[in-house]
């Protein structure tokens, strides 16, 4: 059995918090005009997680809209059901399927121990939460006003302090890694 790597908070903050998990977030992929037609491509993510620093989110919440401490967009990373990640079809039709994996595989074992920088495995202590996995390679932004306007419907849960700080630390480590030529 893998170790616990997440826990929901008991009290939900009125503001967006680092580590908040959202459902059904839509991001704009592209807007194109062809003659008299406008085509908007969106991607709907069933699950995603807030990556912004907690202090930035707090000052954003307290600040007035004309101040530059206010955030325009909130950074999010996609979150996948771990079972679907194992099946290899977690990206749906956005990317081609990856090979099916199973628990006990060396790579999966490392992922579940959070020893592969790109991924963050979440196993909640809470019975009502499935296993999730965050892919730090892909991250997006969502408009702040949209998120606040629909926060009650979009927020699935908030993650407890220690666990969300671990996510933030691992994301920053992954994104600041030194890339070597292939």
């Amino acid at each position: 059995m893998s170790q616990i790597s997440a826990k929901k908070t008991k009290i939900t903050s009125p503001r967006i918090c680092q580590g908040d998990i959202f459902t059904n977030i839509e991001i704009i992929e592209s807007i194109n005009f062809v003659k008299s037609e406008m085509e908007i491509k969106k991607i709907c993510f069933p699950y995603s997680i807030c990556l912004n620093q907690e202090c930035d989110l707090e000052s954003d919440f307290k600040s007035k809209s004309e101040k530059d401490s206010r955030l325009l967009h909130i950074a999010i990373a996609p979150v996948f059901l771990f079972e679907q990640f194992l099946a290899g079809n977690h990206w749906g039709t956005i990317f081609t399927n990856t090979n099916r994996s199973k628990r006990g595989d060396t790579k999966i074992d490392l992922i579940m121990k959070n020893e592969i920088p790109r991924f963050h495995y979440l196993r909640f202590i809470d019975d009502d939460m499935p296993e999730f996995i965050i892919d730090f390679k892909h991250f997006f932004t969502i408009e702040r006003e949209y998120l606040y306007s629909n926060l009650d419907q979009l927020r699935l849960c908030s993650i407890d302090d220690l666990f969300k700080e671990k996510i933030s630390q691992r994301f920053s480590n992954f994104i600041s890694r030194i890339g070597l030529p292939v």
């Binding site: 008299s36 406008m38 085509e39 491509k41 969106k42 059901l81 990206w91 749906g92």
Partner: protein
């Protein structure tokens, strides 16, 4: 573009390769919205309006 009237979208939700809604998965899905730009309402000249494709 804010002075253009946009008609109701033609929604094409590509849930999978067969363009069928797949309710068994919770994977991200691409949604394509197509809008037909049909009429200009700003104070442009009649000549310019005629040039709208």
């Amino acid at each position: 573009m804010d002075d253009l009237i946009i008609e109701a979208p033609d929604i094409n939700e590509n849930f999978n390769e067969d363009n069928e809604i797949n309710v068994d998965t919770f994977a991200p899905r691409r949604i394509v919205l197509k809008f037909k730009i049909s009429k200009h309402v700003s104070n442009i000249s009649e000549e310019d309006e005629n040039n709208i494709p």
